[in-house]
């Protein structure tokens, strides 16, 4: 089963990388760029019995290992059964 986790800094947390990237994009001509946030995307391939189980596991993985709850927020989805 193909699943995907996306992790970003929480909205209240400053994202220096996104900030620098937005400035750089504007500088090279993409003047319509208003803001950029950079995060991680983690594609996890797993042998889950069903989507429910996959989601339960993903939730736990995010809490335990993939994301840092102090500064990050996460989302996950099953892409393909």
């Amino acid at each position: 089963m193909k699943t995907r986790v996306t992790i970003f800094y929480k909205d209240s947390v400053f994202d220096p990388q996104g900030n620098t990237l937005a400035n750089s994009l504007r500088r090279v001509g993409f003047v319509k760029v208003k803001g950029v946030r950079v995060g991680k995307v983690i594609d996890v391939e797993m042998d889950a019995a069903n989507k429910e189980e996959a989601r339960r596991d993903l939730q736990k993985m995010c809490e335990q290992l993939l994301a840092n709850p102090v500064i990050e927020s996460f989302k996950y989805e099953v892409i393909e059964g």
Binding site: Q17, T20, L21, S24, R27, V38
Partner: protein, 228 residues
């Protein structure tokens, strides 16, 4: 001889390079700012220093490759001018397309700084005539993204053309400190006037090791021959 050292926002080995070149002697050194669009044709050597241009955000060297001065660097290189990039400068040269391949995160996922041994693979470049083929030299490395990636075909081709200049020597059971394909530490373009390497020859001209000096004396010779 005139050398240009280009400073990008976040460069931090620019002064180290100036120091090394002044140690080598014979250079009139100009520090240029990445926003300058100076014509470089009066220079004999252009150096892209190490550091963390733009904080290494997005990809090392990627944002710097879009700096205004980089078009001039490209023109200079395409006309056969000598260009060297160390560490972050190497990353910029790959991002610019002046060198083949790309540099990815170290396999260990950690930054690593230490003196490492490497073998001289090709002496048929303007950068390595003062070295001996097969010789082992020691240079410091300090990087988190030094894993050089290139396809096997390209590697073979580059090897045959003498473009593979330096390769790490296995240590502590690891083929290289960063996981580079074929333990590659430094490469040239096909014409050999552009040289990029992850180690820091500019940090090895006096205190720790003097092996870096030979790279600089090699190119000084090449410049002399070219103008003769």
């Amino acid at each position: 001889m005139k050398a240009a050292v280009i400073t990008f926002p976040g460069s931090n080995c620019d002064d180290d390079l100036v120091y090394a070149l002044s140690k080598v002697g014979g250079f009139e050194i100009a520090k240029l700012w990445h926003k300058d669009e100076t014509d470089l044709s009066s220079f004999d050597l252009v150096g892209l220093p190490g550091g963390f241009s733009y904080g290494d955000y997005l990809r090392c060297g990627a944002i710097a490759a879009l700096s205004p001065i980089m078009q001039k660097v490209k023109e200079f290189a395409n006309k056969g001018g000598y260009v060297i990039g160390m560490c972050n400068g190497f990353q910029m040269l790959c991002e610019l397309g002046l060198l083949p391949g790309a540099l990815a995160k170290n396999e260990s996922l950690s930054f690593v700084c230490r003196d490492v041994s490497m073998k001289v693979t090709s002496v048929k470049t303007p950068w390595s005539t003062d070295l001996k083929e097969g010789e082992t030299i020691s240079l410091p490395i300090a990087h988190g993204d030094g894993r050089y990636i290139i396809s096997e075909d390209e590697y073979q081709q580059m090897l045959n053309q003498g473009q593979i200049v330096l390769q790490y020597i296995a240590e502590n059971g690891k083929e290289s400190p960063n996981g580079s394909v074929h333990a590659i530490a430094g490469v040239c373009n096909r014409e050999k006037n552009v040289f990029g390497l992850m180690p820091h020859p500019e940090r090895a001209t006096d205190m720790r090791s003097k092996d870096g000096l030979k790279i600089w004396t090699s190119v000084v010779k090449a410049i002399g021959e070219k103008s003769a």
